[in-house]
Subunit: 208 residues, 2 copies
DNA sequence: CCTACCGATCGGTAGG
DNA sequence: CCTACCGATCGGTAGG
């Protein structure tokens, strides 16, 4: 079942992501994981040091992906609406391209040990902060309505991009960018000061 | 710790909701649950028939709450924007007033046995259907823009109302109705055909 | 990577 | 509602 060409550690990581996302961390036994990889329970420990290490790696990996996707946008000098669209594209792409680990990220992070838990909480906070900052900039630039509540606006954005992990299906009719653009179109119309609506390159636009 | 005035079964149900939401269904042992209720592990089975029955009750209870909140709105003859605002208020109120069981509803339903699983899936589908129908009506009435994609629009609404389970805190500065109204204001501006925006009784408006 | 095993803990039951 | 117990399964280790 797992991709034979990858290094064994990566295979374990991938299969664990799938099982943890489907059945949950605690409901997945190391013997099930081993079985899905065609080996015996005890053999796993030649490659990994423990069950929680697997969880930490998966959650950290997802955190890193969100981090890389968003934070390079921080310094970019673009109107807030265009920047938001780019951020939403990247954010949804991370979720869609990593459905298993994204699901584990959203559901299983409570089961981490205190240190790992704190680190993940910090990461989530900084993602929140990124969107709040973006909204603030948009208001200051006059791109977004001045009466927007920054926290609620970023909450609404985060709802849209994060909730995709529950309904996106790989191979469906919509690409992650399609989804991001449709959400951005609807949201930006509600955010914009002018009623001109949906500024900022809909559809086709460049990558990234 | 549990409310002494309630019947024992209800106490068990409440504490189980809290523990399942905090630690997850499989990570909560029956002995922990019993301990939190001040009794021994085996004593639980004088009141309940098994661990999964608890989960089923919690998830069914949450499903029923969503059901009751939304479906009475189905026949109501109101402009779609006002109806949407009402639905979002009720939906978020169910989440906010039942944070524990709502969290269990969103996270632990995969662990149900096939029959219970199928029933819950059906409930979720009918909630989806409610919002899609509402959006369709809004377009037909001319209240919403004709170029809205029904499925993506209802997805966006559901994202906003469901995701509240991750960040709402009881006793915070915002009431569930405040949250619903702010989300509705932003969304409805993006949905409306006219650029007049935010129709449909903002703020104060009647209950329900 | 396997076999064989460890102590611990699980959900649940019997009998009172 | 408690005590005492059941078989099953858990994560992990030793030795090869």
């Amino acid at each position: 079942m797992p991709d034979q060409t990858k290094p064994r550690r990566e295979q374990i990581h991938d299969v664990a992501s799938r099982l943890f996302s489907e059945r949950g961390y605690h409901a997945t036994s190391m013997r099930e994981l081993a079985g899905a990889l065609g080996m015996q329970g005890g053999s796993l420990y030649a490659h990994i040091s423990g069950k929680e290490d697997l969880l930490i790696e998966i959650v950290n990996g997802a955190s890193r992906q969100f981090d890389e996707a968003l934070f390079s946008l921080r310094g970019v000098d673009l109107p807030a609406d265009q920047k938001l669209r780019k951020a939403m594209r990247r954010h949804i792409r991370v979720v869609a391209d990593n459905m298993d680990s994204a699901t584990v990220f959203f559901h299983e992070w409570k089961h981490l040990s205190p240190e790992a838990y704190t680190r993940v909480t910090g990461w989530r906070d900084s993602i929140d902060h990124f969107y709040r900052e973006l909204v603030t900039q948009g208001i200051e630039q006059g791109t977004f309505r001045a009466d927007l509540d920054v926290r609620m606006t970023s909450n609404l954005i985060l709802s849209a991009v994060n909730w995709t992990y529950t309904w996106y299906r790989t191979g469906g009719p919509l690409t992650p960018d399609d989804i991001a653009d449709q959400f951005a179109d609807m949201l930006l119309r509600g955010f914009s000061e002018t009623s001109a609506a949906g500024s900022g390159m809909t559809g086709a636009g460049a990558g990234s």
